[in-house]
């Protein structure tokens, strides 16, 4: 689906990319449990969930038009597809990180001790953002530390080396790394709730031409949410299956879920999407991204990329809106209209 | 009648070193030219030039009065001094190679009756050179003399118009050598080949050849030997009463007195 072509024929087959992360595991589980097929059949379409191990690559592939939708964080949506001119709509606000991302220090329990250290993290990611926010609380600029870009796949292994004394990571790596001797979690996303948001985004043009895709996805998501929230045997089984898909055990997975604030209730998700807090969060994220040069060399101001929110609020360039938060489908789910 | 092959003022140089200096020759169709001369004089270099493997630094070569193309072809067969056969082919495969190339331009493999015919021909040629019991050996499993005979068989089966032989019988014992002499003389007679043969055996040169060329330096500077190249210092036409049937027939030398210059000059 080449982006930008406004007039698209309705299609029946769609590819959605996902990568391993606690807040996104419901998607592949739904596929395996037949929930995807159920909803897709209902709307006469076919949806394939494609696993991409490398998170960045999944977003890149979406940006390149190889995927119709992808699971991604709010910050990366802004800096990768949206900044790349790909008109993208966030249709499901799935959760926010409530401790799933954190800053680890060896040998100290105080974030202030990070001063001057080499901090290993995935640069320009939400980890970087978290670090900036953490330093802010201590009144330190980002330049107070030296960042070392580390691949998310290898950061757990790397942290076991005595060379590393500070790192920022997300789950499941974060949990693995916390087990290292003499290690403390000194700051986490629980300290900035609601700022690191996990989304499901789809190509705006595709969505426009195929609103059924949005409906089906919303249907899938909230049915799966309802199932996994249950404290019943079925709920446990669902979570165990997700753990397996994530390559871990149910205990560890439940641990990860406990630091993920899931919007299991569609109404809550709608409310979060409409809240002015989202605009504020996105402003912060945008300013941080711009300061880090994530909008590319061409962008001359933080306003270069436009974002729209439910109710008509627009942040940034209104002529170049490429990131749209859309509560239509969550709203339908809340009303039971799917 | 003009010559089959004419060399006009050929010079061969390697960097500073002059190997052949101003060699001019006319070689008649059907002649059997023996080339002798001291080691390192440039005999092999001369053959390489005629073969088209090397281009002379100066001078030109005419074949049938047209300049020689800068590459070799099936009109010129060769047996190299260091008998080089294809290591990946058995004796039979090595000899059949030439036949297959001609008859199957694309697949270069023969099938059915064609294959049988080629095989028979190759076997016959191998028998001529005494390798009939070693047909399936690879070159690495052969003795030096066997490899040399294989190289001869490989070249002869094509009956090239011009046959260039660089010490072809050097590694052979006298008995087989005599057989080879007979074989080459027979083929030369039957197919009117033109043969140019380098040899160190002066008796062989005179008994087989219709013409004997001696390649050597005319001048020699003991302090800078590389500054002078070799050229044909003697050129003897031999007339035989009849075409020799056996190589052992002694030819008569037409020129008067001959002194073979054997000064080694490098």
């Amino acid at each position: 689906s080449p982006s930008g072509s406004e007039q698209q024929e309705p299609r029946t087959e769609f590819n959605i990319g996902w990568s391993i992360y606690a807040g996104w595991m419901p998607w592949p589980y739904a596929q395996q449990a037949g929930i995807v097929k159920k909803w897709a059949d209902k709307y006469g379409i076919e949806i394939n969930f494609v696993q991409v191990n490398d998170y960045v690559e999944s977003v890149n592939q979406y940006t390149a038009g190889k995927l119709d939708g992808v699971t991604v964080t709010n910050m990366d949506t802004l800096t990768i597809p949206a900044a790349g001119g790909k008109d993208t709509t966030a249709i499901i606000v799935g959760d926010y990180s409530n401790g799933n991302d954190g800053i680890l220090l060896k040998g100290s329990n105080d974030l202030a001790a990070i001063q001057g250290r080499d901090v290993y993290l995935v640069e320009l990611s939400v980890s970087h953002y978290l670090l900036a926010r953490g330093l802010e609380t201590k009144g330190m600029p980002l330049t107070a530390v030296n960042t070392v870009n580390t691949s998310d796949a290898d950061i757990a292994g790397a942290f076991s080396s005595p060379d590393i004394t500070a790192a920022v990571a997300w789950n499941p790596q974060l949990a693995t790394m916390r087990d290292t001797a003499n290690t403390n979690l000194v700051f986490s996303s629980a300290d900035i709730p609601g700022e690191i948001i996990d989304l499901l985004v789809v190509d705006t043009a595709t969505l426009k031409a195929n609103p059924n895709l949005g409906k089906a996805l919303a249907g899938i998501w909230y049915e799966t949410m309802a199932l996994m929230q249950q404290d019943s045997e079925a709920g446990r089984e669902a979570r165990a299956a997700m753990a397996k898909l994530a390559g871990t055990t149910p205990d560890v997975f439940d641990d990860q879920l406990s630091t993920t604030y899931l919007y299991a209730d569609p109404a809550a998700a709608v409310e979060a999407t409409r809240s002015p807090a989202l605009v504020e969060t996105m402003t912060r994220v945008r300013d941080f991204s711009f300061a880090q040069g994530l909008f590319g060399q061409g962008a001359r101001s933080a306003d270069a990329v436009g974002m729209s929110f439910p109710g008509g609020t627009v942040l940034g360039d209104p002529d170049n809106v490429t990131l749209r938060f859309d509560d239509t489908y969550m709203q339908m789910a809340a009303e039971g209209a799917l | 009648m003009s010559a089959l092959l004419s060399l006009r003022n050929i010079w061969v140089e390697y960097g500073e070193k002059i190997v052949l200096e101003n060699v001019s020759l006319d070689i008649e169709e059907g002649s059997f030219v023996s080339i002798i001369g001291p080691s390192g004089a440039g005999k092999s270099s001369l053959l390489r030039v005629i073969l088209g493997q090397e281009t002379p630094t100066r001078g030109s070569i005419l074949l049938d009065d047209v300049p020689l193309p800068g590459e070799c072809g099936p009109d010129r067969g060769v047996v190299f001094q260091r008998y080089s056969v294809f290591p990946h082919l058995s004796a039979l495969g090595n000899v059949m190679f030439g036949l297959e190339c001609k008859q199957a331009p694309f697949s270069s493999r023969l099938f059915g009756s064609q294959k049988r015919a080629a095989r028979e021909k190759a076997e016959e040629m191998l028998a001529h050179v005494g390798l009939d019991h070693s047909m399936h050996l690879y070159p690495a499993e052969m003795s030096g003399g066997m490899q040399q005979r294989l190289a001869i068989a490989q070249a002869l089966i094509k009956r090239p118009r011009i046959l260039l032989l660089d010490e072809p019988f050097g590694a052979l014992d006298p008995g087989i050598r005599t057989d080879m002499h007979a074989l080459i003389t027979q083929l030369w007679n039957e197919y009117r080949l033109t043969v140019i043969m380098v040899t160190h055996d002066i008796k062989e040169a005179f008994s087989l050849g219709t013409r004997v060329l001696t390649l050597d330096k005319r001048r020699h500077d003991p302090h800078a030997p590389h500054r002078y190249g070799a050229t044909a210092v003697y050129d003897l036409e031999l007339t035989r009463k009849e075409t020799p049937k056996a190589a052992d027939a002694e030819p008569e030398v037409s020129a008067g007195s001959i002194t073979i210059d054997n000064n080694h000059n490098n």
């Binding site: 592939q61 290898d154 | 270069s108 690879y138 690495a140 090239p160």
Partner: protein
Amino acid sequence: MRWVNRRPRRGNRMLLGAIPIILLIVLYLAVAGARHAVNPADKILPLPGAMIEAMASLVTEPDQLSGEYLFWADTLASLTRLGIGLAISTLSALLVGLVLGILPPVRATFGPLVTGIAVIPPIALLPILFIAFGLGETAKVALIVVGIAPFMMRDIAAHIGALPREQIIKAQTLGASSWQVMIRVALPQAMPRLIQAVRLSLGPAWVFLISAEAIAADIGLGYRIFLVRRYLSMDIILPYVAWIALLAVVMDLALTWASNRLFPWAHGADH
């Protein structure tokens, strides 16, 4: 007797070859044991018991979800990809190497291009590769091919380019055209070298396969390694790596054996 002349017998050879590998295993056990003495929960160098335990379910129990024996499914998937990748690389290396090696004008035209491609690290261009080949099997095979084929092409081309010039000349005096020189002289003599090139490429081929599976896959040895790496599950990674090494060594031996069988003339070089 001089060391250059001591040729151990077959049996002794195997014994000798086993020594350093056994030593290495012993060394590992010692270091792992030491680490576990300090921290019984050490994940980096697991003890054999932990590895066996972790592997047992993968090897012998079918996965609840897919019903597959994961270890064997991973192996099959990876070997298929590797096999296809190696086959394509080998074939294209043979074709391109042959043409580059024997035809100077082609070498002049495409040699620099092949060199250029050979030295460009494909993993730097991953986004483009995946965009060009999608996220399916094609991309994984393509990464292997892009990774190893140019190297093999250059190796074959160099080998053929170094064939004694006498042979090429000789073939031509026997009436061979360029085509015939290529398929009757160069091709067969390139074959043993090709097998050697495949052997040398096995290592890089696995590297590229694993990299590809690390990026997008839902099955495969490399996928599993990357999946569990998040949890630092060395008790699965190490047996998987050992298994990969074993598979590769078996392939290596099979190739050596095949080369000796198929091209005796290239190996009988005794005197």
